[in-house]
Symmetry: C2
Subunit: 337 residues, 2 copies
């Protein structure tokens, strides 16, 4: 993609838990933020998408692309893929496959999005298994964790490729000069871990990476590494548990604070500091999970994403395309395989 | 153990990161709380233990048992076990094995404590693999997670036994009438997960347990299950990540609050509510991780435990012995194997 041409992102407008509204609003925010070189295609049911536009009007930079079906979280991804040939996810993926868009953003069910991209976009040449990576907040900046669920039973070579793909993403999108790569295990020594991690440790030590060794669960969010690799079962468990903790803490705090009148005054005084703290810890601000290793740019958002998360995901998709993540992964893997 | 006889707990006084002091103080607090039917043996270097006693004096209910060596977190557990025959961990375990104590509490390195108990106490008859269980706080009460690192590459039958052992612990120590047992996976459907969890799911469905099915990482701390089983690699990663989140949130909050003078007043007004909220979420208050499936009661505490955590662990060890967890596990597993 030449920087001179407008960049085209297909946005699956139907996937979110809250209907097209967060997608449509996020898309309009992205246009306002990212300037005139962006073109967005909102894919889905035209009437619902138009109804979600403020004043019913879009912008010259937005088109609506019709797709009649919606994939829900209740459906098995492979069944949805086979039966719903006109789903918004599939139509958005086809736009990329047919050269009508440069990348895709979806807040649809992760399994369905991943399966659709693997079938419609296909894995990049040389990629053994595409991988879902999550960008985790930490006080010292974002950390990329992969795989987060696309591959549950893994071979060591797959994790080596996850590390290489994560390295490229860390360089291009996260702006790290030489991203520190770590292996998630249960202790720092090379011999600590399970059969898989011991084999992967040996591969990573020989690879052309800034490999800092094993880290354990305690260090994932502490900012010790820029890229953390693990199998998708562990990654999924760790990611979901981590996401669950801040709301639990908030719930307990809220119930205690509401029981005491003076606490309300105190809370009011703390508001600016609290707002800033939660911005720093906000999982939404990092803008979605990149699917690495397919032949196209794909960013997957939470089903519950608000406009801000969608806007950020569109920005990330742009950086992904402009920075040539796909091409660099293919290039880098030639040296590994 | 007859309830009429005093209950004897051997406390490894040397294992903590902060020397014998938290162990000794916690032991004295436990005596004050738990009454006259308790006898404690503080195992380790006699001079250091005596120096940690307030006024240099103990109580009639406390004896000091000499052990000259200390196992550190830097040592490989198996090496420490082989070389340090007079370590405080080993001496405490031997007291149980030889009938001089009913249970043991240690804040030593988890790997070394586990290895020592497996060798000195031996697994219970019928137990395939002893397991470390962690008691996690949740807004709805504690949840037991096992295995947390004693067994990284697991067979399905081991996880079935973890579930049965967790069930017994849930009944006896956590006071649940029929503990809800869940399998940690990456989705609720039986088919979701990796090879291991799919096989375990089938075993758990046929077992005599209140099996509520798969849960994912999001649900572990939400109180949906009383007992959550998983392999020790996943459990360790999830446990350590979960423990790391509250301090990270506090760090970020603190740095933002200190930057603003009015925040200090606000914080002062919030103090009672915050204190109560953190008590509810405090990982220390649940008192250590039981090692289930060895022929004795063993509670493992964090190396950084304070007196309160030690006191709670001694209480848990007492409940473990008085409630006959060991005997019930042996009995229950006869019906499973």
């Amino acid at each position: 993609v030449s920087p001179a041409l407008p960049l085209r992102i297909a946005v699956d407008a139907m996937g979110s838990d809250h209907g097209p509204s967060p997608l449509v609003l996020g898309a309009l925010q992205a246009l306002a933020e990212l300037g005139p070189d962006l073109r967005l295609s909102l894919v889905g049911r035209e009437d619902e998408i138009r109804a979600a536009m403020p004043g019913g009007r879009g912008s010259e930079q937005v088109e609506v692309v019709a797709a009649s079906e919606v994939v829900s979280t209740e459906e098995a991804p492979t069944v949805a893929l086979r039966r719903k040939k006109d789903s918004s996810i599939r139509r958005a993926a086809e736009m990329v496959a047919q050269g009508e868009a440069d990348g895709v953003v979806s807040a649809g069910p992760t399994g369905a999005v991943t399966a659709t991209m693997q079938v419609v976009l296909r894995p990049l040449s040389g990629v053994l298994r595409p991988s879902i990576a999550a960008v985790l907040p930490s006080p010292k900046g974002p950390t990329l964790l992969l795989d987060c669920g696309a591959n549950v039973d893994c071979r060591p070579e797959w994790l080596l490729q996850f590390a290489v793909m994560g390295q490229v993403y860390g360089e291009v999108v996260m702006g790290k000069r030489s991203p520190r790569v770590a292996l998630l295990s249960i202790g720092e020594e090379a011999g600590k871990g399970n059969e898989l991690t011991r084999a992967v440790h040996a591969l990573l030590q020989r690879a052309d990476l800034t490999f800092i060794g094993n880290i354990d669960g305690r260090d994932v969010l502490a900012g010790r590494a820029d890229v953390v690799v693990c199998d998708g079962f562990t990654g999924n468990a760790v990611l979901k548990l981590g996401e669950s903790v801040p709301p639990l803490i908030l719930d307990v705090l809220r119930s205690e604070l509401e029981a005491r009148p003076l606490s309300r005054l105190g809370l009011w005084l703390l508001r600016p500091a609290l707002r800033r703290a939660f911005e720093r810890l906000d999982w939404e601000s990092y803008g979605g999970a990149p699917l690495l290793g397919v032949d196209g740019a794909c960013i997957i958002c939470h089903g519950r994403s608000g406009p801000k998360a969608i806007r950020n995901a569109i920005r990330v998709a742009r950086d992904f395309v402009r920075g040539g993540v796909r091409e660099r992964i293919a290039e880098r893997l030639k040296g590994v395989a």
